[in-house]
């Protein structure tokens, strides 16, 4: 079972490297915003996998917090792209 979870973690890392590639390459600001959004969601899955690997539930709390923050961050960046103030 352990080996399977390790493989799964490696695969998710591969996915997040792809996001990082898009984040670095761009070419436009919305491309980077999409990459950050997707990276956040993948890391939620990553934290969930860690929590069953270690059998600790606080990893799941990290995932929950991360999901919340990544959503807020994405929406804020999208508002920024739209060229508006955040309270509009």
């Amino acid at each position: 079972m352990q080996i399977f979870i390790f493989i799964a973690l490696v695969m998710l890392m591969l996915g997040s490297y792809m996001c990082l590639y898009r984040l670095a390459k761009g070419p436009t600001a919305p491309d980077r915003t999409v990459a950050i959004d997707i990276l956040g969601i993948i890391l939620v899955g990553f934290c969930a996998m860690l929590s069953i690997l270690r059998g600790e539930d606080y990893y799941m709390s990290i995932a929950l917090a991360w999901a919340l923050l990544s959503f807020i961050g994405s929406v804020a960046l999208a508002k920024y792209l739209e060229g508006k103030e955040f309270d509009e």
Binding site: M1, F4, A8, M11, L12, L14, G15, S16, M18, C19, Y21, R22, T28, A29, P30, D31, T33, V34, A35, D37, I38, I41, I42, V44, G45, A48, M49, S51, I52, D57, M60, S61, A63, L64, A67, L68, S70, F71, S74, V75, L77, A78, K79, Y80, L81, E82, G83
Partner: protein, 291 residues
């Protein structure tokens, strides 16, 4: 048993995640990347979280995983929509990726009609002529005599006159005074016998063609052939061309266009700007800014 079900779900979720990320890397523009990555990754991560909940059994981990899954399912489409909207209003365009074979002239012109109806402007004579005139895209550089020969062959067919006459007239016209109006633009225009004929031929020469000492590198050539009674159209067409070539970055885009259809689309777009300027209407760049 629970472990195996959980692992199966996690595996499926990871496959979705990887394909979503692959889409993020491989696809050509923001919108396609967004639609591939968001949907697949949301699905994948939700499956991973359900898998984790099943694997861990009832307890703190599974409770948090379920809450987290609902949150991801709710928030990720909303974030994607916000990003797409932001990208659209910051002026990112959809990349043209449709296979060449699928873009027939019909689709192009239908789309163009729809856009025109949206902006409510009327076609004037120049727009009609733009649709029907042939566009020639020359890769190799030609001497002006070869160029005149090609022009007179094509135009001879369209106006039903022998090509020799047209060629002779073009050469004569060029001798009188050069037709190259700007370093990159030439508008040779001749008058033929008869009546009720007016034709335009648009030529793009990628490597430039030699017209005179002062304009050795002409890229855009508009040849006008008309009879005496259509003289007013001649002047109006000249005015339209003059307005079009003065629009922003016209020559750059003119050289960048990949084929004759794109060239025609470029001219159409610029012609549309001309109408909007005439109306004195501010140009709404996209639908979003209109509330």
């Amino acid at each position: 048993m629970n472990e195996y079900i959980g692992i199966a779900m996690i595996s499926i979720g990871i496959v979705y995640d990887i394909f979503g990320c692959l889409g993020l890397v491989r696809l050509p523009d923001v919108y396609t990347r967004l639609q591939a990555a968001t949907k697949a990754v949301t699905m994948g991560t939700s499956l991973i979280l359900i898998g984790v909940a099943v694997y861990a059994g009832i307890g703190a981990i599974s409770a948090k995983a379920i809450i987290c899954m609902f949150f991801v399912l709710l928030s990720s489409p909303a974030a994607a929509h916000a990003i797409a909207r932001g990208a659209h209003s910051s002026g990112i365009r959809v990349e043209r990726v449709t296979a060449e074979g699928l873009i027939g002239r019909t689709i192009e012109s239908e789309l163009w009609d729809i856009i025109r109806e949206g902006y409510e402007f009327e076609k004037d004579y120049f727009d009609h002529m733009l649709e029907s005139s042939p566009i020639l895209d020359l890769e190799e550089s030609m001497s002006s005599h070869e160029l005149y020969k090609r022009i007179s062959e094509i135009l001879g067919q369209r106006v039903n006159r022998p090509p020799d006459i047209i060629q002779a007239k073009l050469i004569e016209r060029e001798k009188e005074c050069t037709t190259a109006l700007a370093p990159e633009l030439a508008i040779p225009h001749i008058i033929v016998e008869g009546e009720k004929t007016f034709e335009m031929l648009i030529i793009r020469t990628k490597n430039g063609s030699w017209f005179s000492e002062s304009s050795p590198n002409v890229h855009a050539i508009f040849v006008l052939v008309g009879t005496k009674d259509k003289w007013h159209l001649h002047l109006r067409t000249l005015a339209a061309i003059a307005t079009i070539v003065q629009t922003e970055n016209f020559y750059e885009n003119w050289l960048k266009a990949q084929d004759t259809d794109r060239l025609r689309t470029l001219l159409r777009e610029r012609s549309k700007l001309r109408h909007e300027k005439k109306k004195g209407k501010s140009t709404p760049d996209n639908g979003v800014s209109r509330r």
